[in-house]
Amino acid sequence: MGVRRRTGLFVLQVNPILCDGFGHCAELAPELVTIDEWGYPIIRTAPVSLSDTGAYQSARYAERGCPRQALRIQRFNEK
């Protein structure tokens, strides 16, 4: 997978307009996403450190597995 940057933070962002509530993201990234009563994802808003490889890997799975391509990983540096 090449060299991965391990410093900095990321959040998983959903575009609520695109999301149709298939719920794949909650299965692919259970540590970041829960599902509300209507089936739409509630995503953890607190930034996660990139050094948490498990969470980052799940976020990437979710990003790629979302059938509506509604998810995006937003990376930023610590302030």
């Binding site: 962002q13 575009n15 609520p16 307009i17 695109l18 999301c19 149709d20 509530g21 509300d36 009563e37 209507w38 089936g39 739409y40 509630i42 808003t45 995006r72 937003q74």
Partner: protein
């Protein structure tokens, strides 16, 4: 020239007909903006009058700093709030003041086009604007190009990204903005969306300067604002008031119920304010500790005999119907909130559980739409649960108040032919 401390500023010499260009220039002096408009705007401390209260100069500077050959200035006179009539009355008295402000800003940010947006059902506003634009075009073809647009009359159609979307692509649906601040665009051209009342204020600042503008209002909220008072009043009116006027004075002037149970401030995505706080000055810095804001200048007076929960329920029901239904939490969550409130107002089954679910759903929905529509509804529901706390407790115990059975209501809701009717273009 209007004196710095006299009150009708925006409504100066307002008559029942829109002023023509010649009359307008006689009233407000001809339009020659002062040199450093951006600095003056900054010094004036003008905040947007569309609801969010964001400093205008920051927004203008942001678009000013975008590098682009084409830019747009959009005049937002959509006024989706059923209880608000300020833009309507501005268009029907001083359409040229609004256009002046738009032209000043267009010159400032370097925009070649001005799009004036008036809701399709607002016939008188459209007529006034059409005539004003025509008068300007006849006098001079220089300057930015003015166009009138008539998006559909929906609550969210006046949201700035929905308005831009309409101008860009004929769909008045809000857009998702991943990061904020976000540059809205028509094609590739950055767009500056400003509320009509804000632009009228810009026109005055452009003529008379920031220190003149600060002659009224408090140091943090300078100037005057238009307030639409409705509910328990003799006649619903739009009045101009200095920011920082005590609420009681405004109510007296509007000939409203002097001992109301509560006031709905800001709009239908605003909050309730208990009637105890009538001596609070009407400006954001004094209202903020009470969890309320000036918003779009809406003031609905709720008398003691009415039931706040039922009123809130009706508003939330309507707001749920006005959702653009693009985002799940908004499309499903808002009807759920309306249902929850109905269960609290007229308890059937387990009302305590309904109340608990209502509070949980408020937490779940907040901040999860593409626009702030659901956030406004959540704010309204939360403030209702807080302000009408005692009534809620009584309703939940099955002891509904008399007001909840009354068929007279105070918050105006447009009638739909069918409750679930929804027409999107």
């Amino acid at each position: 020239m209007i004196e710095s401390s006299t009150l009708p500023r925006l409504m100066h010499e307002a008559s029942s007909r829109p002023l023509s260009l010649a009359q307008h220039e006689q009233t407000f002096a001809a339009a020659t903006p002062i040199g450093s408009l951006l600095e003056e705007l900054e010094a004036s401390g003008l905040a947007g009058r569309g609801g969010a209260g964001f400093p205008t100069s920051v927004k203008v500077r942001f678009i000013h700093d975008q590098r682009s050959l084409h830019k747009y200035v959009v005049v937002n006179a959509m006024e989706g709030e059923p209880a608000s009539h300020k833009d309507q009355s501005l268009l029907n008295t001083h359409p040229h003041l609004v256009l002046d402000g738009a032209e000043y800003l267009a010159g400032l940010v370097g925009a070649k086009n001005i799009a004036v947006c008036v809701a399709r059902d607002n016939r008188s506003g459209i007529n006034a604007m059409e005539r004003a634009i025509h008068e300007r075009a006849r006098r001079s073809l220089r300057g930015p190009k003015l166009d009138l647009h008539t998006p559909p009359q929906r609550y969210v159609a006046g949201e700035e990204s929905a308005l831009t979307h309409w101008l860009d692509d004929n769909e008045s649906l809000p857009q998702f903005r991943r990061t904020r601040p976000h540059v809205l665009r028509i094609g590739h051209a950055p767009v500056l969306v400003q509320n009509a009342e804000t632009l009228a204020n810009v026109a005055l600042i452009g003529r008379f300067g920031a220190s003149w503008y600060r002659g009224l209002g408090t140091s943090n909220s300078p100037g005057s604002t238009l307030v639409s008072v409705s509910g328990a009043v003799a006649h619903p009116i739009v009045m101009e008031t200095e920011l920082g006027t005590p609420l009681r004075t405004i109510l007296n002037y509007a000939d409203a119920d002097s001992d109301p149970q509560a006031l709905l401030l800001g709009g239908y995505g605003g909050s309730w304010l208990s009637g105890e706080h009538l001596d609070t000055p009407y400006c954001n810095e004094e209202l903020a500790p009470l969890g309320v804001s000036v918003g779009a200048g809406v003031l609905v007076v709720l008398p003691r005999k009415a039931c706040g929960i039922v009123e809130t329920q009706r508003v939330v029901q309507w707001m749920a119907n006005e959702s653009a239904r693009q985002c799940g939490p908004c499309a499903f969550g808002l009807p759920a909130l309306a249902d929850g409130l109905r269960h609290v107002a007229r308890p059937t089954g387990d009302a305590t559980l309904a109340l608990q679910r209502l509070e949980e759903r408020c937490d779940v929905i907040k901040g999860r739409g593409a626009c702030h529509h659901p956030d406004g509804v959540v704010r309204l529901v939360r403030s209702a649960l807080q302000v009408f706390e005692k009534d809620v407790a009584r309703h939940v115990q099955g002891d509904a108040c008399k007001g909840s059975l009354d068929s007279r209501h105070y918050a105006a809701i447009p009638q739909l032919e069918r409750a679930e009717e929804l027409v999107w273009e």
